[in-house]
Amino acid sequence: MNGFLRFGLLLAGLIVVLLLTLAAFQLPIVDSVKLIFDGAFSDKFAWSRSAVKMTPLLLTGLGMVIAWRAGVYNIGGEGQFVLGAIFGAAVGKGLIGANAAAMPGGSLLILVVCAIGGALWAWIAGWLYVRRGVEVVISTILLNFIAIQLLGFAVSGPLQEQKGQVPQTDLLPESLMLARFDRQTDVHLGTVLALVMAVVLTTFLYRTVAGYRLRLVGDNPKVARVNYIDPGRVQLSAMALSGAMCGLAGGVEYLGLVGQLGTTFPQQWGFLGIPVALLGGLNPMLTAGAAFFFGALFAGTENLARFTPAGTTIVYVIQATAVLAYVGLSGLKKARPKPEEETESTPS
């Protein structure tokens, strides 16, 4: 099936689910759809809100695509997102302290460090999976909690604002923030970065030797092994890359939108990347499509919430229903590949 057709089917399916959901909650369908549409696309402000919501969804979604494609079911996007941002905030504080905030490339440096932070966090879970056989589900849940507590600690301790009143970091100076296209809207360079990443990841997965190996390991690690590709090593790198993408998402949210970290910084983007990636069929470009749809839906339902009691929570229902329908219909039955046995372990 070509990409165009798949995208069309995906979109049609999602719209059907949207209509059904509105009906299930007894909302006036025509009026609601209009409100949602207006909220997402009516003017440049609406478009910008959609794009701003799409950005973290797309980056974390891409992060999930990398890991899941290699057969590692990373659900620690949230922790990697947060940890990346903490790393970035530490550099931000350092730059401000050293009076280097205006240094060229400062924001790029922060983004790179964010990606490294996320990668490290994911690497722990990857290592536990590949070398210790620990379910990624379990380790990433633990790591998510630790990351969130670390954030709480960081913003009320080492990274707290100068005034020391509120548990949050200092607002970054404009020079370190990602550039905006229009002073009136929030769309920032991070949105472009996310879209570029989707293209980069497509190229990586489908055009490079390393990407091919990654997909091969995810499809059948045994075949990879008998052809001299170490599945564990590939999966470990995939986890690190996946975490880097989620850490980058955290950095983009930090530098592009909020400019400071507080305890309300985690907005579940790390979790929400999972349904986005799944509905995108673990394909980067389709994931971009799904991220845009849900970004627009978030923006649209925010508008819906202004006029009706219903609001953004509808998006979760739509995501959940769509994922269940998708896996239920396509019968995504492939058993998770087991980690390969450790070679140095002595048999009993």
Partner: protein, 283 residues
């Protein structure tokens, strides 16, 4: 105080232990808890009886778990995928109904709370202690427990002994769902006396983590959950006493310990060997 903080997590974790022992890791635990909290509140509010509320909460938690079971056990779809969807579904459905019924700002609802039985201890807390002991017995000494554990370790052996792996796993996941529903109901009816959007705030995931920390033994899991409750209540005690302490690190400690255990011993032999693996009959 500690018991009150610990009870919801402990209840959910105890049920999840049974589920995991049968080989199913119910990622949707958070969703079952949230649904339990919401529908318990809804039922208690419209009938005025917290007991009917409890039953409604348990039912909601159970139904979500059975939905999860249908996808993962009957259709063999990955547990992580379905569990994630279940959580989102619960978050979305409870949030949306709540807003459409009670307004978006959430007029502070208050419903009849569970009455205490002895001193400050209420019926659910007593039930928690009893179930941890009871489930230990079930796992160790009953036929059901033996068969459940066999299913989680090596489903083929359970099949060969004449049991249906699917049925045993449904029992396991139902147990997770029932306890999660009860845990959620207790959150809204036993502790806060109201409901707020996403009020479980990750407690379902805490519970899953505690199963690992308690090494899949109900009494240990209970102890692990009490430790979490202790850490959380200590946070407030310290704050009230004006002590400046990095309490976030304190709260993170149990997770860090659990993680360290995994790093050192790995999966080990305690974790059910067939955890999260779909079983295809005759494969």
């Amino acid at each position: 105080m500690i018991l009150q903080y610990a009870t919801p997590v402990a209840l959910a974790a105890t049920g999840e232990t049974i589920g995991q022992k049968s080989g199913v890791i119910y990622i949707g635990l958070e969703g079952s808890m949230l649904a339990g909290a919401f529908f318990a509140m809804l039922a208690a509010q419209s009938t005025g009886s917290p007991w009917i509320g409890l039953v409604a909460g348990i039912t909601a938690g159970l139904l979500l778990a059975l939905l999860f079971g249908w996808f993962t056990i009957r259709r063999g779809i990955d547990q992580v995928v379905v569990g994630t969807a279940i959580n989102l579904l619960a978050l979305g459905v409870t949030g949306t109904i709540y807003r459409t019924q009670f307004g978006k700002s959430g007029t502070l609802l208050s419903v009849a709370k569970l009455p205490p039985v002895f001193g400050k201890i209420d019926a659910v807390e007593i039930l928690l202690l009893l179930s941890a002991i009871g489930l230990t017995w079930v796992l160790q000494k009953s036929s059901l427990g033996l068969a459940l554990r066999a299913t989680g370790e090596y489903p083929k052996a359970a099949e060969a002994a004449g049991f249906s792996v699917a049925r045993l796993r449904f029992i396991g996941v139902a147990c997770s769902g029932i306890f999660a529903g009860l845990a959620g109901a207790y959150l809204s009816l036993g502790i806060s006396g109201s409901f707020a959007e996403n009020m479980t705030a990750g407690r379902g995931f805490v519970a899953i983590a505690m199963v690992t920390f308690g090494r899949w033994k109900p009494m240990w899991v209970l102890a692990a959950a009490l430790l979490i409750g202790f850490a959380e209540s200590l946070q407030f005690t310290l704050q009230a006493a004006g002590v400046q302490a990095p309490y976030q690190l304190l709260i993170a400690l149990p997770y860090l310990v659990a993680l360290t255990v995994l790093v050192v011993v790995g999966r080990g032999t305690v974790a059910p060997a067939a955890l999260a693996e779909p079983y295809v009959k005759g494969d």
